[in-house]
Amino acid sequence: MSTTYLEAIREGLWEEMERDPNVFLLGEDIGAYGGAFKVTAGLFERFGARRVVDTPISEAAIVGAAIGAALMGLRPVAEMQFADFITCGFDQIVNFAAKCRYRWNASVPMVVRAPSGGGVHGGPFHSQNPEMWFVRTPGLKVVAPATAYDAKGLIKSAIRDNDPVLFFEHKALYRRIKEDLPTEEYTVPIGKAKVVREGTDLTIVTYGAMVWVALEAAGTLAEEGASVEVVDLRTLLPLDRETVCESVKKTSKVLLLHEDTRTGGMAGELAASISESVFEYLDGPIVRVSAPDTPVPYSPPLEDAFLPNAEKVVEKARWLFRY
């Protein structure tokens, strides 16, 4: 019985709600309607209005209320209808939630789920990848699964985590990927990257929907005789620098890939980290493939040009091999 990425998240929520009566959900249209993407479909029927709370259109209140409930010992999971709207609850996340523990030793075990990413012709406000706003904010954890397995395992870990976790679910993966998941319970640890393909000539470090692009590119490059290792970060903060650096030590070449725009993107942090820690192992520049520095355009030909794809990765990798 194959499970989609979206169903995997729902299963994770469901299991945690069954397991722990302190877990509850809040967000816009998540109740009887089941959420804009139907991630929470069925949960209202199962758990009722007490544990699946429909809210007004108030992202600051959604996040704020989640913080308040978390401070009182509950485990709220807030949904942003689209990750793009997280900017409306921004102060609550980066100033309230992120700093409580450091400032006054108060736990905020809250999860904010945010459907992010492009490739769905959503245009500038339904396609963004806002992860870096949070990766640069100490006190938050940031998760961005690429597979159904990880999506389920990470949402469960996020809910059990005693720190605020931002959970970026990639919209383009919701129904596009399907996997057989274990029938027994499992979790996936926060803070651990995963080598999803082993290789010896080049490391591609990436996350989210781009993992699939990296794997496709790795396949193409394999046909050309290049052995490419793909590291899926899975968690962006805290960052598993070790797994990244170990891979670079092995391959000596690295390509950083993200769907997010270039300047200030995750690739920067990775480049700095790699250059600081394993500089002597590098035998070529650290290269990046990413979206360019523009808003996400709507029209399909523009969006296609905007998004990174396997072709662009392969081309950059070839350049690096020639270097």
């Binding site: 007004p56 500038p124 808003p295 399909p300 296609d304 040009a305």
Partner: protein
Amino acid sequence: MSAADLAHNCLYYMSLMREVEDRIERKLYRQGKIVGGVYVGRGQEAIPVGTALVAEPGDVLFPSHRDMAVFLIRGVTPGRILAQYMGRAGGVTGGRDANMHMGDLNHNIVSIISALAATVPVAAGAALALRYQGKNGVVFSYFGEGSTSRGDWHEGVNFATVQKLPVVFLCNNNQYAYSTPLSLQMACANVADRGPAYNMPAEIVDGNDVLAVYEATRRAVEYARAGNGPYLLECKTFRMTGHSAHDAAHYVPKDLFEEWGKLDPITRFEARMLAEGWGTQTEIDELRAAVHREVDEGVAWAEQSPYPDPATLLDGVYESS
């Protein structure tokens, strides 16, 4: 303008909006020619029409996502709008953004962003600018009842009232925000109940009666233009569709659709026109046919408009680039 001319205008723009949106939602979207979200204002046409017909050329309008008639009234052609939805270079944003996320300062229309009510403080700023520049324009700020829950709404209205800015706040209360009914959105019964919080006059009007909306808007605009500050107009109506083209609105009790269907602003207004002698059935039929032709032409125009050139992807992030 004579009563008959006004009536003709009202019917024309309501029908044109209806037809453009029907074409978008029921044809082009289903044909896969429009990708992404489609939100229509079916059943609510009296609101953008009754309000925007009051606007002077120097007034600045901030339509929301169910106010297409505002564009039509300000002279944005159906072709450009249809091309916008289809992501074509000839669309209002040239394919950069989708659906009602469009604006054109040549027509004094500012584009919404997706975040609801984000335009409210921006509208206040535009009103500040008009006064600063010594112009006597008024700003029209549109939103749905659900959007009044947002912090930006409160901050924008509060700032506008403190500064006594020339803004009319135009709320379409269609009783749902996506799947969320009024009772889960606010504890008060009417959006107008929020007026006193800002010491701002607030009026409730039948949003399915285009002339009532028109008259109320005139009062509101006159008040604001005279320098008295903002005015809130709550237009009671009903969303006769799902939230968007992919939403079947199972959560809405069926009888509400039936009840409100009887109050359809176009059907109702046609009857009124005949009753008042502002037009004949023949004229109405001709108007409808003309609207059809106009939209046919718009669709043809939009379909021949090319997709934007990917080579332009990087252009226009900054002025110089």
